[in-house]
C-alpha cells in the first residue's frame, strides 16, 4: 500500500490514540487528546469511555468540543453532573485508566509545568493559565500520557514549577510523596515518543518521528535522553487518516 501523506498533528494524534486500550476510561482534555480519544473509539478501542472534568461521562461526540464544558460534550453522554462528581467519584476513586496532560515544560521524570516560568513563583516572568484539573489528573489517574512541543527549553532538567507531578525525582519518590498509583507512561511530542524506565522512572526515547534521527531528538532535549532503544514512529495508516479527517475533525478545528 502506498504511504499516505500526513501532518505532524495527525501523526501525534495517531500515536496518542494508540496509547488507549479498548474498554479504558479516558480523562481527556481539549485539543489533541480529544482527537486521539475519538480516533481510538473509531478504530482499536470502540469501548473506551470519555470523561470530561466539567461534569460528563461517556459522551458520544458528534462535533469536536472547544472546551471540556462545551455543550457538545452533552451529546450521547451517559451522565451529566458537575466537577465535584467527576473529580471525587470518578477520578479520585481510581476509576480513570488514562489521563491526558500537556504543559509548557516537561522534565526527565515527566513532571509538568503549566503555571509560570521564572525562578520565583511569586514574581513569574511568564504566566500561564494554571493547573485547571491537570494536577488532579496527574495525581489520580492510573497512568497519564503527556502531549508536548519538543524544544530544548521546554524539556529542561527541572521544570520551574511542578503543576502536575510525574515521577517526581524518580525511583520511589512518587509513592513516597503519598500518591498511591499513577504516573506518566508516555510522552508524545512533535519529535518522538518517550517512555519511562520501570525502576528509575527516567525518560527514554522509544521512537523518533519519520524524517528525524534519535540523536536529532536528543539534541532538542535539555537533559540526557537515552536513545539506544529508539525506532522510527509507525506512520498513520490510510484508514486512521481517513477517520481523523472525515469523521473526527471534518471542520479542521484541531487538525492541521
Amino acid at each position: 500500500m502506498p504511504q499516505a501523506a500526513y501532518s505532524l498533528t495527525e501523526l501525534m494524534a495517531v500515536a496518542a490514540a494508540r496509547e488507549i486500550a479498548d474498554g479504558e476510561v479516558v480523562f481527556a482534555g481539549t485539543g489533541l487528546p480529544m482527537l486521539a480519544s475519538m480516533l481510538a473509539q473509531r478504530t482499536h478501542a470502540p469501548n473506551c469511555c470519555l470523561i470530561f472534568e466539567a461534569g460528563t461521562a461517556a459522551s458520544q461526540l458528534a462535533h469536536l468540543p472547544m472546551s471540556v464544558g462545551d455543550p457538545r460534550v452533552m451529546r450521547g453522554a451517559a451522565m451529566a453532573a458537575g466537577l465535584h462528581e467527576v473529580f471525587a467519584y470518578v477520578l479520585q476513586a481510581g476509576r480513570v485508566d488514562v489521563g491526558f496532560l500537556s504543559g509548557a515544560q516537561v522534565d526527565r521524570f515527566g513532571n509538568i509545568n503549566s503555571t509560570a516560568i521564572g525562578a520565583d513563583p511569586r514574581h513569574p516572568k511568564v504566566r500561564f493559565s494554571g493547573s485547571g484539573g491537570a494536577c488532579d489528573i496527574a495525581c489520580l489517574a492510573r497512568r497519564t500520557v503527556i502531549i508536548a512541543r519538543h524544544e530544548k527549553r521546554r524539556f529542561p532538567e527541572n521544570v520551574d514549577y511542578i503543576t502536575s507531578p510525574g515521577w517526581l525525582r524518580g525511583g520511589a519518590s512518587r509513592q513516597e510523596a503519598g500518591l498511591r498509583w499513577g504516573g506518566p507512561a508516555a510522552v508524545v511530542t512533535t519529535r518522538g515518543l518517550m517512555r519511562f524506565r520501570p525502576d528509575t522512572h527516567a525518560m527514554y526515547l522509544a521512537s523518533y518521528h519519520p524524517g528525524l534521527t534519535a540523536p536529532d531528538v536528543a539534541a532538542e532535549t535539555g537533559f540526557a535522553l537515552a536513545i539506544d532503544e529508539a525506532a522510527e514512529t509507525p506512520v498513520p495508516t490510510a484508514e486512521e487518516l481517513r477517520i481523523l479527517r472525515e469523521v473526527v475533525d471534518p471542520e479542521r478545528v484541531f487538525l492541521q
Partner: protein, 322 residues
C-alpha cells in the same frame, strides 16, 4: 413565597467595592457575563474573586481594574485561547494578588463551604508545587481575614496510619452569581447540562444572585424537582437576563460566539486596544440591551441560537473566521 425578581442593574449594585465574589460557569460556558460587565460599568474596585476555571468574566474584570485578589485553578478560554490575556498581564506586572489551586481542590473547597465544614480532605496535590508553594505571602494572608492563614495542610489519616491526605480550607463568599437556563421568581433553579460547580458556589455564599435566560412559573419547575439543584431559600435575587452569558455558551439556548471571542482575545493582547474594547462593548452601551446591540444585535444572536436536536449550533463556524 416572596417574589425575588429584580433588575440586573439593581442586583449588580448590591455588590460593593471590596466584596468577595464567585461567578458560576466554566471556561467558555454559562458565566454570568452580563452581571460581570455591569460591575465593570459600575467601576467596582478591590473585588476578591474566588473560582475554579473562569474565563472572560474574570479577564474583563481584572483588565478593567476591578480586582485586587483571586484564588483560582485556571483562567483561559481553553481551545479559543490558552491563557486569559489580562490575567497574564496583571500577574506579570504585579497588579494582582493570587493563589493557585487545582480544579479539584477548588471545588472541594466550595463543597466544604457549602456543607458548613471548615475543610475537606482530598488525595490530589501531593508532590506538586500547587501544594508546596504559596503565592500569597503570610503578610498578604494576614491582611485579609477572608483568606485562610495557610493554603493547605497534609495530614495522616487518624483511621489508617500512614495514609496521607491534603486538607483544603472551606470557601465562604459574600456573593455568588450564577447564570442558568431557567429560574422561577421565587428562586427555584433549573440547570440543564453540566452543572460545573455552580451549586457548591451558590451554597457557600451569603447572597446568591441568579441570572436566568428564562423566568418560568415555580409550579412548572416543581413538576420535575429532581432537575432543580438549588432550593429556593438559598437564592436571594433572580434577574431575567436573556443572552446573559454571551459571548459564552448556554446549553440548549445558544452557542459561544467565536467572532466576539476572537475580537476580545486580539484586543486584550494590547493595552490600548483593550481599553477601546471596554469602551465599545461595555462602557458606552448603557446596559445589557446596549451591549447586545453593540455586538451585532438580533442578526448575530440568531446565528448562535441552539439547534434543539443538539443543544448547540452544529453548523457554527469556529475556525478561519474572516
Amino acid at each position: 413565597m416572596a417574589d425575588k425578581l429584580t433588575s440586573l442593574t439593581a442586583a449588580a449594585a448590591l455588590i460593593p467595592d471590596g466584596a468577595s465574589l464567585s461567578l458560576g460557569g466554566f471556561t467558555t460556558q454559562r458565566h454570568p457575563m452580563a452581571l460581570a460587565y455591569e460591575l465593570v460599568r459600575l467601576r467596582r474596585r478591590n473585588l476578591y474573586l474566588i473560582g475554579h476555571s473562569p474565563g472572560g468574566d474574570w479577564d474583563a474584570l481584572i483588565g478593567a481594574g476591578c480586582v485586587k485578589r483571586v484564588e483560582l485553578a485556571y483562567e483561559a478560554d481553553e481551545a479559543f485561547n490558552t491563557v486569559g490575556p489580562r490575567w497574564r498581564r496583571a500577574v506579570e506586572r504585579g497588579q494582582i494578588e493570587w493563589e493557585d489551586y487545582s480544579n479539584f481542590a477548588m471545588v472541594t473547597r466550595f463543597a466544604a463551604g457549602a456543607m458548613g465544614l471548615p475543610f475537606l480532605p482530598l488525595r490530589s496535590l501531593l508532590g506538586s508545587d500547587v501544594l508546596a508553594q504559596e503565592a500569597l505571602s503570610p503578610e498578604q494572608r494576614a491582611a485579609d481575614a477572608r483568606t485562610p492563614v495557610k493554603k493547605a495542610a497534609v495530614v495522616e489519616s487518624p483511621f489508617h496510619p500512614g495514609e496521607r491526605v491534603v486538607l483544603v480550607p472551606a470557601i465562604h463568599t459574600e456573593f455568588a452569581v450564577i447564570h442558568v437556563q431557567k429560574a422561577s421568581p421565587q428562586g427555584t433553579v433549573r440547570i440543564e447540562g453540566q452543572t460545573f460547580a455552580d451549586v457548591q458556589q451558590a451554597l457557600c455564599a451569603d447572597v446568591v444572585i441568579v441570572t436566568a435566560e428564562q423566568i418560568v412559573d415555580d409550579a412548572e419547575l416543581r413538576r420535575e424537582p429532581e432537575r432543580n439543584p438549588l432550593p429556593y431559600f438559598a437564592v436571594q435575587h433572580v434577574c431575567h437576563v436573556p443572552w446573559g452569558a454571551h459571548p459564552y455558551a448556554v446549553y440548549n439556548c445558544y452557542d459561544y460566539d467565536p467572532r466576539q471571542l476572537k475580537r476580545y482575545h486580539e484586543s486584550a493582547e494590547d493595552d490600548a486596544a483593550f481599553a477601546q474594547y471596554l469602551d465599545e462593548f461595555i462602557y458606552r452601551p448603557a446596559d445589557q440591551a446596549g451591549y447586545l446591540a453593540a455586538i451585532g444585535g438580533a442578526a448575530r444572536l440568531d446565528e448562535l441560537r441552539a439547534d434543539p436536536a443538539f443543544g448547540y449550533r452544529p453548523d457554527l463556524k469556529r475556525r478561519r473566521l474572516d
